[in-house]
């Protein structure tokens, strides 16, 4: 099979209709898979992790390791606490704020100590875990929480691995531009959330 044909077939398969996976909890693959997909289908969580990974790349390697561990641990703890307590927590304002902070940090290539980046990662992971804990529903909590804690950790790790390979100036500029886009989206998210009661028709 020639490369051109392969490319055409890939494009065709992309055009084929498929189900809309818009932040839904799909239980068809079991609780683990439903949990695994949960953070990955949440725009705010993915944006936060992308911005955090970009910012982390501009900082010390030891800090990145601490951030990675923090994401996995805190996400799990928060998910267990929220699932066990049954509390409902609105995470959108916090995630939007975190998107702004981490986006600006990545865009400005700000050098910070691990004492700043790690707690920031912990706060973000807490809210990611909180959303997980509230979304368990009738599924197996262990499978769901393990899946939902693993996927953000893996996403962050893969992003770090990918970003560390971007050595040229242009690639660095591109990653900073993406971080600024995330901060911009965070600004709008926060505004929508704060204005939610004022413009209910547009914001829902």
């Amino acid at each position: 099979m020639s490369l051109r044909l392969l490319i055409v077939l890939v494009i065709l398969s992309c055009l084929a209709p498929s189900g809309a996976d818009a932040h839904m909890v799909w239980a068809g693959g079991g609780a683990f898979w439903a949990g695994f997909l949960h953070p990955l289908t949440s725009l705010d969580e993915v944006c936060f992790l992308v911005a955090l990974s970009i910012w982390s790349t501009f900082n010390e390697p030891s800090t990145r390791v601490w951030v990675l561990g923090t994401i996995g641990a805190v996400t799990t703890v928060a998910a267990v606490i929220l699932w066990w307590s049954g509390q409902e927590l609105s995470t959108i304002p916090a995630m939007a704020t975190l998107m702004i902070v981490t986006g600006l940090g990545g865009a400005t290539r700000l050098k910070v100590q691990s004492a700043i980046l790690v707690p920031l990662a912990a706060i973000g992971a807490w809210f990611i875990g909180s959303e997980t804990g509230q979304a368990v529903g009738g599924l197996s909590p262990i499978g769901f929480i393990v899946g939902a804690s693993l996927s953000p950790t893996m996403l962050f790790l893969y992003l770090l691995m990918g970003l560390e390979r971007l050595n040229s100036d242009w690639q660095s500029i591109a990653s900073r531009a993406v971080a600024s886009w995330i901060a911009a989206i965070g600004i709008m998210m926060l505004t929508f959330e704060l204005a939610r009661h004022r413009l209910p028709m547009q914001l829902h």
Partner: protein, 201 residues
């Protein structure tokens, strides 16, 4: 199979037509509709398009650090303007400011103006706010607001990248002339937009 003969190409073209597409009966609604509505807004408005591309070109003409500072700053200030537009904050003469942005930014490209970075940032920032305000204010009522903003932020960033790519042509004398001529044409189009608004008034 190598796609060198006509027949496989015809078959592939027919296959493309046969692929089922969703029906956009209520275009602009939901997350997908909001995203595409926001994404297409800067692309389909020639005033937005020319201003965004001009920012990228001007950044390339100014060189480092403006080449990355301008495109990074623009979306941030545009988002603030977009939020202001969505919550209904009035900005008198938005369309005039946007037309002015095409003239000024196109003019900067045409003159290859080497302004101070802070001054360049102020100019770009003012216009970014106005463009964002227009995007926000013109958001379809049925569109998902967040998806709409994600769409126009990404489209704007891509237009800046296009501008930077065009701006890199200045390394060659012919390219430098062509880029400046493009800036001049953009500025002329901006004048036409201003004239159009004045006649409307």
């Amino acid at each position: 199979m190598k796609i060198t003969s006509i027949l496989p190409r015809v078959v592939l073209a027919i296959l493309f037509w046969l692929v089922a597409r969703p029906a956009f009966a209520h275009i602009g609604s939901g997350f997908g509709g909001g995203f595409f509505s926001g994404f297409s807004h800067p692309l389909l408005g020639p005033d937005h398009l020319l201003a965004m591309v001009s920012v990228g070109i001007w950044g390339a003409e100014l060189g480092a650090p403006a080449i990355w500072v301008l495109p990074i700053t623009f979306p941030l200030i545009m988002a603030i303007g977009g939020a202001a537009g969505i919550v209904g904050m009035p900005l008198p003469g938005t369309e005039i400011i946007i037309a002015l942005s095409v003239i000024v930014l196109g003019g900067m490209v045409a003159m290859a103006a080497r302004l101070n970075l802070v001054l360049a940032l102020v100019i770009v920032g003012v216009f970014a706010f106005a463009h964002g305000h227009a995007h926000g204010a013109e958001m379809p009522a049925s569109a998902d607001a967040l998806a709409f903003s994600v769409g126009f932020v990404i489209a704007t960033g891509m237009l800046h990248a296009l501008g930077i790519a065009i701006g890199l042509l200045i390394k060659w004398p012919v390219g430098f002339g062509a880029v400046r001529a493009m800036g001049g044409l953009a500025a002329l189009f901006g004048l036409y937009l201003i004239a159009e608004h004045v006649i409307d008034l």
